[in-house]
């Protein structure tokens, strides 16, 4: 509880002692938004760690070999992630639901096991030293870009593009009948999501002096973690996955008191959220858990059959 107590009693001290954690929250928030964009357009893609790896290795290697400034490396990594996103997105666009998830996991694992763990330039599985990392200096950039990314995603869902995405998510066949170019909009969402993930990957790689090619970083485990952001927070609104990311990132502190049993307690807690709020923390009905009972609620009406 010291953790949260300090947040209120000594914000400056909190900021100074937990900068890395705050940076990680910002990065996970961007990843959550990347997940949100594909889910909002009806695509269950788990490709984010692959695009993160593209962004991370591009920016780190450019700094290592060509001594480019960090900003240039980040931009290049982000763009390359977008290009890879287009290349991966085109062939898998026809896949839906769990089949798309499996295909994107295939991409993630092929990139990590097949390329990153084998190329000499990426360290052949031993990892990569990144002397140009600046763990504390990037915090402002991370927080600003986190806010910008969330804002962009939020605004996009409100316009013509967002309506088209929502229509595609609900019913592709009906969306076609309204003149919506379904394939183009799905690809657009996929690429946008790849760009966000690539950018987050580039930022994250500079938090640490060592780029670890492990499964929890660029593998399926990470993909599942990012998916959990969205499932836990709810994927109907952009804030859902972001709240989910905040939650997951802070779990070790929230359940600090559980000591050695922390994994059991936090696991049970996550299951409880899924059971009691299947639509996510910020799902339909809004913030029902923390909202006082007298607050006006959206009218709930029973869905009709047929």
């Amino acid at each position: 509880m010291d953790f949260f107590f300090q947040l209120f009693s000594d914000p400056v001290g909190f900021w100074n002692s937990h900068t890395l954690l705050i940076a990680q929250i910002g990065i996970n928030g961007i990843l959550a938004t990347s997940m949100f964009v594909v889910l909002f357009s009806g695509q269950l893609s788990l490709a984010a760690p692959g695009f993160m790896a593209v962004g991370a290795y591009t920016s780190v290697l450019m700094g290592l070999y060509w001594h480019t400034p960090l900003a240039l490396g980040l931009v290049a990594g982000t763009l390359l992630a977008g290009v890879v996103g287009a290349l991966v997105g085109l062939p898998v666009l026809r896949l839906r639901g769990v089949f798309l998830a499996i295909a994107t996991i295939g991409f993630v694992e092929a990139l990590r096991l097949g390329v990153i763990l084998n190329l000499p330039i990426t360290g052949e599985g031993l990892g990569l030293k990144n002397p140009s990392a600046d763990p504390l200096g990037g915090i402002n950039l991370i927080l600003v870009s986190f806010v910008v990314v969330v804002f962009v995603a939020w605004r996009l869902t409100k316009g013509r593009l967002g309506h088209a995405w929502a229509a595609i998510r609900q019913d592709e066949i009906a969306a076609l009948s309204q003149g919506i170019h379904v394939a183009r909009y799905k690809l657009l969402a996929f690429i946008l999501s790849a760009v966000m993930a690539g950018f987050a990957g580039g930022l994250e790689a500079h938090l640490n002096f060592f780029v670890d090619p492990g499964d929890t970083q660029y593998g399926v485990t990470r993909a599942v973690q990012i998916l959990t952001f969205a499932v836990l927070g709810g994927s109907g609104f952009v804030l859902g996955p972001v709240v989910g990311a905040l939650f997951i990132t802070l779990l070790p502190w929230i359940f600090e008191a559980a000591g050695p049993y922390i994994n059991i307690v936090s696991g049970a807690f996550l299951i409880a959220i899924i059971v009691f709020r299947p639509q996510g923390i910020v799902g339909r009905g809004g913030l029902a858990i923390i909202r006082p009972s007298w607050w006006p609620r959206a009218r709930a009406s029973a869905p009709s059959t047929g």
């Binding site: 996009l156 309506h163 309204q178 003149g179 869905p303 009709s304 059959t305």
Partner: protein, 523 residues
């Protein structure tokens, strides 16, 4: 000429779903498209709107050729459609559904969104106003239901909302695929008014529906499809008295060919009126009924499919329930089998309350259904299908004897015993389904559309088999669209129209009653 089709063709494997259909729709017309179940109407619409590729032929809307275009381009050309099984964006609000319909004609504001430029707010207000207006046009109170998720609206409102969404495209041609399906008479009346109002505003409409009163009442011209071919095209009067159309709808009498189909062209109108009046007399209900149904009312959510049906079946009878597609026939059978539960009414089968008993108990009590579409296990062999049917009842020799008997009754099944059931022809599959039903030792056998999708000779064979089973003493309740066929073998029959039993009588009586034609083709 707004819409022109030239020998449009689409086959699925060996099924000629649409087989060279040509059609011309005048600008400003309401064109009807009708045909029995499986005639290819929806396939034709799907080809026309780009959901199923053309195999051959061409289509134009105005000067624009539709052939080979993807669905979203055809929509952008001004061809709007609704879907037979409503396809709304269920979690979006009603208003948002209509806004999505404006997709093709709103300017791309993706970048403007980021800055929330003033023009965007103005445009958005204009679109909202238009969406509200469109909802009001189709008779939805936009202020009340506009913000509700579309999936939570009542069924009839969902149908209307789908039309509003289609209108948001500002279409040149509106294709309505069964807009009145599942609606009650007053809702149907409102849909009819809506269609007439839209047409009066200059919209060309292609209407597909099974409700002949609606189609014949509202359309200028009607085209009739059967087995993928256009068999008639003309004014509603011409089409509803065309002998080919009547045959397509009522079926042929087979070996007992009926010389004059009920109410075929040439029948004196006055005589017809007399006969209709005469048919009001109550038919003789049996006293020792094995199955008695009273006031059965069954709904699917908001749709009431069966409204107060009462009928009975005596031991040893063949009783037919006939009526057009969507009349509620299968719903009645599924309720008797315990698969659906009625809202009201009673159904007693030899002392067992069918409205409360479990489906398995109903089968054990001797009421066995051969479902529509046959539902055989396609990957299992014929023998395995039959063995599974005896599984629950008995083991060992008894079962083998039963199966041997069945193979004697249906020799074709004996010949095909080791073939996978899915490779059998439709008629053979139907025999297998009936044999499987008989293995459950029914005291009352429910047959749901045994002739569905079969070629004429196979229909003959299936009906011959039914007559043989009946001769062996099995009581049969038969549901059929092929009315003349069913009436020819039935002791008694009930005619169902939109969930109500309209007529009843002996098979022979109804065979010559012009009101039967009305139940199918409207008045």
């Amino acid at each position: 000429m707004l819409l022109r089709l030239d020998s449009v063709q689409r086959h699925f494997g060996g099924v000629h779903a649409v087989d060279g259909v040509s059609l011309e729709v005048e600008r400003g017309a309401i064109q009807g498209l009708i045909g029995p179940n499986g005639a290819g109407k929806t396939t034709l619409v799907n080809v026309l709107t780009g959901y199923v590729p053309f195999q051959a032929g061409h289509a134009w809307v105005g000067a624009d050729e539709l052939t080979g275009l993807p669905a979203f381009r055809i929509a952008a050309l001004g061809v709007a459609r609704t879907f037979q099984n409503i396809r709304l964006f269920k979690e979006l609000t009603a208003i948002e559904n209509v806004l999505v319909g404006m997709h093709t004609r709103r300017r791309d504001d993706t970048l403007a969104q980021l800055a929330t430029l003033p023009f965007f707010r103005r445009d958005q207000r204009g679109r909202l106003n238009e969406a509200h207006k469109l909802m009001d046009t189709v008779g939805l109170a936009s202020r009340d239901v506009g913000d509700r998720p579309a999936g939570t609206l009542p069924y009839g409102d969902q149908r209307r909302l789908e039309i509003a969404r289609a209108l948001a495209l500002r279409p040149r041609l509106l294709i309505l695929d069964e807009p009145a399906a599942g609606m009650n008479p007053s809702e149907k009346h409102r849909i009819r008014e809506l269609i007439e109002r839209l047409n009066a505003d200059g919209l060309t409409i292609l209407l597909i529906d099974h409700d002949m009163r609606l189609v014949m009442g509202v359309c200028n011209r009607v085209a009739v499809l059967n087995f993928g071919r256009k068999i008639a095209d003309g004014t509603p009067e011409e089409v509803s008295t065309d002998s080919g159309v009547i045959k397509a709808y009522l079926g042929s009498g087979g070996e007992r060919e009926v010389r004059s189909a009920p109410g075929a062209s040439g029948v004196d109108q006055a005589a017809e009126a007399d006969e209709v009046a005469g048919s009001g007399r109550p038919s003789v209900e049996p006293e020792n009924a094995i199955l008695e149904v009273h006031g059965l009312t069954v709904s699917y959510g908001a749709i009431t499919a069966v409204r107060g049906a009462s009928f009975s079946v005596a031991p040893g009878e063949v009783v037919a329930l006939i009526g057009a597609n969507g009349a509620g026939k299968s719903t009645i059978l599924n309720t008797l089998s315990g698969l659906l539960r009625p809202d009201y009414g009673s159904a007693m089968f030899d002392g067992l309350d069918l409205t409360a008993a479990k489906p398995s108990a109903i089968v054990r009590h001797g009421l066995v259904q051969v479902p529509e579409g046959r539902e055989i296990l396609a990957r299992q062999t014929v023998l395995e299908n039959l063995e599974l049917a005896t599984w629950a009842r008995q083991s060992g020799r008894g079962a083998q004897g039963q199966i041997a008997l069945m193979m004697k009754r249906f020799p074709i099944l004996g010949e095909r015993r080791d073939m996978r059931a899915g490779t059998l022809s439709g008629g053979e599959q139907q025999m297998l389904a009936i044999a499987r039903g008989l293995l459950a030792k029914p005291r009352l056998l429910l047959l749901d559309e045994p002739s569905l999708g079969l070629a004429p000779q196979m229909v003959d064979e299936v009906f011959r088999a039914i007559e043989e089973i009946h001769a062996d003493g099995t009581t049969i309740l038969l549901v059929e669209q092929n009315a003349l066929r069913a009436l020819a073998i039935a002791d008694r029959a009930y005619v169902i129209e939109t969930g109500r039993i309209q007529l009843s009588g002996s098979g022979d009586d109804l065979l010559h009653n012009p009101a039967v034609r009305r139940a199918y083709l409207g008045g």
